[in-house]
Amino acid sequence: MTKTTKTISSCVFALVVAAAIVCVGQFSSPSSMLRTVLQMGAVYALIAVSMNLLNGFTGLFSLGQAGFMTLGAYAYAIFTIPVDARDGVYYLTGVADWLKNFSLPIPVALILAGLVGALCAYLVGIPVLRLKGDYFAIATLGFAEIVRIVMASTPLNRVTNGSMGLTKIPGFKSYYGIFIVAAICIALMVLMLNSTYGRSFKAIRDDEIAAEAMGINLAHHKQLAFVISSFFASIGGALMAMYLNAVSATTFTVAVTYYILLIVVIGGMGSVTGSVLSAFLVIAAKEWWLRPLDQEQFIGGFKIPLLRSGFRMVIFSVILMLVVLFFRRGIMGDHELSWDGIYGFFKKTLPSLFHRKNKTQDPEKEGGANG
């Protein structure tokens, strides 16, 4: 019973998001801010869910997401830049011979990008996953920096174009491409999280020693979570490269990891719908709703003080602090969005409206998620 309502509510949630995206696709101009926000939101949602898979569901506090995004972005870029555009991109050093006449279709390159990230995660995971807690976070952070610097290093000039970065990266012709890829990836992760493997990841998060005593092979399962998370983070990186049309070593700095971590924390560690919601909200706030704060504004003849370039980020930070203070466990906690949750939220916030209903319905049914 509860399971079916849960499935239905997540399906409805997905449909609503899809409908919103289609509406925007149909009725807005190609250069509208809404489109930008939705596309970037989709990419960040994918990466945030992949990070949540590791940090929120498996309890491995990784800060290496930017590293895997870099790998995915570069892998995708290197494999897809059109053959006739290559000379233009690598105008300084020339392109490596094996790459010269080599270009893959977009879907193949996307999967390949994911696989490159997964392979690196597997190799890095062997030593790094022996570490616990903070040490694991620092090691993965270090890995991300290494990847970034290696990509910009001169010996790789003829492949990665060094510090110049790669441009003319092809993307989907359709506006919907990014959404479809992101949706498929998130759906796969949700399916995985609801399977017996997902349950064992949560068990590891809750109590490692008990999980091992219950026959869960820690090394194997942590490795699995790390590889899967990196696979999808790399695809996310590739989507990002696709969206920006360009990638360089400075695209994915440590700040990007923190930004995604922030999305995950605001959404709620251990909630997929929370991560998705917060990705769109955070991107919209940062890139769109708070933009006016960066320009000087006048009301009548009066110039509003403080408004200048960069002020947006001050407000953004203040909002973040407020969110963290008042929603300590994120928007969704570790719950998923559900009808019970929405009902509970409104029942709490609009008590007068629901007061009469409350008495006739069973009073024990309190909403699961807090709003």
């Binding site: 995985m192 399977s195 017996t196 949560k202 008990a210 005593a213 026959g215 092979n217």
Partner: protein, 280 residues
Amino acid sequence: MAEHVLKIQDVTMQFGGVVAVDNLSLEVNRGEIVSLIGPNGAGKTTAFNAITGVYEPTNGAIFFHDKMIVSNHPQGKMKKLYKGENNGKYPKVIRKTPDKITRLGMARTFQNIRLFKSMTVFDNVLIAKHLRRTSNIFTATFRLNYKEEKKMREETMELLRILDLLDVKDEIASSLPYGKQRHLEIARALATNPELLLLDEPAAGMNPQETDELTAFIRRVRDEFHLTVFLIEHHMNLVMDISDRIYVIDFGKLIASGKPQEIQNNPEVIKAYLGVADDE
């Protein structure tokens, strides 16, 4: 002679210069309830941890159904530091991580309850079914293992029904009353289909009434699941009531073993528990 399920031979566990378990040998036979008792800090839980693979014994061997599952001898720095006996008797080195030992058919509970706190009672038990899976990550993701998954869920329901936890199955584990949490931990251990159940102080923190209930519960579980039970306990009422045999250790060393009545009257045991007056 009864077949032994678990046999510990000359197990010594030394941390740095401290010998926590000293040359311990004991056996647990099929269908028995055997207790391991001793004063605080005697090395009972350390012995348990060595059996279940949390620690690697410094020296000695452990057999499960006559198959050697753990064996070690002092190595590296321990070669010089080793204070125990029987050095060199166990040249083989066999290590097993706790999950592998659980898979062999040995499940345990913990002294301080270790449930998966954020999950429901049902999920707690369901997770223990994970180790008997045949699916891999791909078949599980694409639900090609739905038959197995269904079976896992049915078995979990059945287990919850037998152990009277069905009415709380959708509650979060950490919200259960203390006694129920203990039951749940045993239920979770049983879900791994063990032959040997290791209980580390199952009655810790329980009042006399709860302890009586637990005694009946352990007996029932043993009979219904055809188990062998090996437990550590401090509640003497429970131990004397339930045990077929008792082992007593003090400062890591075995000081007595035998039937409950023998142990009750053993001067060594009384000395270890109560101490001896100096002026006599």
